[in-house]
Amino acid sequence: MIAVLDYGIGNLRSAEKALQRVGGDAVLVTDPDRAAGADGVVLPGVGAFGCCARALADRGFDTLVRDVVGRGVPFLGICVGFQLLYEGSDEDPGVDGLGIFTGRVRSLAAGVKRPQMQWNVLRRRAADRVATPGSISLLDDVPEPAWVYFVHSFAPEVTSETSSTCEYGGEVAASAERGSLWGTQFHPEKSGTTGLRILQNFVASVPGGAP
């Protein structure tokens, strides 16, 4: 079972439906205890960083996320759910992130419209990463050019764990990976067939993720 964490934020139905479309046994989960037994975990998120961080903590999901990531359970953070994995965000400087990925979430450059609300092309940074033999990566078999849908005004810093970027007033982190821990700044559940292919990779990386 793949637990889509439901902590009262935004449109979660799309993530659930898209995972189901590619064969995933996805379920919206409101109870951290139930999510603890999941084979894979998806953390969506839209809105402000601080609101999401507080909502996550209020429902006890912050501890759950640290626990499942620590145990190597396949994990996918989407949009603000991706940003929450970093140390903090310039959007709400007083609010801590989970600090699982190194780095902070920064504002998009001045001089471009914010939010970036559009499709953009992924630039892979695969050369920077050491793939584990036999393991699946986020962008495996995703056809080029990969156009995906972004809605955001902030993005994590580009670090050695950043696996793809897009160009929007500068180089913007689009995804990061560390083993079975994945995150996307874009919305794979809203990125048509390209996004579904990415989610299919996630489902394939989850033992017991398909019914």
Partner: protein
Amino acid sequence: MRSIRVIPCLDVDAGRVVKGVQFTDLFDAGDPVELAARYDAQGADELVFLDITASSDHRSTMVEVVSRTADVVFIPFTVGGGVRSVEDARRLLRAGADKVGVNTAAVERPGLVGELAAEFGSQCVVVAIDARRTPATGAPPTWEVFTHGGRTPTGLDVLAWSEQCVEQGAGEILLTSMDRDGTRDGFDLALTRQVSDRCPVPLIASGGVGTLDHLVEGAIEGAADAVLAASIFHLGEFTVAEAKARLTQAGLAVRPA
């Protein structure tokens, strides 16, 4: 990179797609979910559903349309029409909509945009503005905000109102020229350009598209971030793929269909 979105608009009345010409004279053009899936397959970047259902008896019909759409369409879609409160928006977002559009209610209750942004984030909040050029008197044109499907003048200036909406937390502006809507004469480019230049958030241009070159003009001269059209697509005159091919030909970045 800035890419231009092509957005078919589906006007929905009691669960069926219709298209207004100058906001009157409607005709039926099919099931919204089937049409949405067709446009997705053609390469549409987003969809807008405008619920023009007059009777509140049928409000739940739209939630059901949204839910069925979310089952089969995996591109973003916005639902506008009849959203008057945080709870109205929540129903649509929980059913699978990505954004909600507010128009009349945002004018009637100026706190609404801020409430929606605080609750769901600015990226969920599209303010739809119906604009009418004030009668030309030789002076530079100004535009007035109209509500209630274009029937009610508000006395608000479109530029000032759009800035106010962004300050309150609107994440996007959907700007319709009432003068051009249904005419097929092209966007009101001066209007579109002025609002786009003033607002730091993305702008969807709407109203008046009759040819594919109108879409190009909207993106270049109008500085729109997205172009919305209905009848040229609904009547089968052009596909979304043809629209995107024309934009590409004009040197604009678009996601290939």
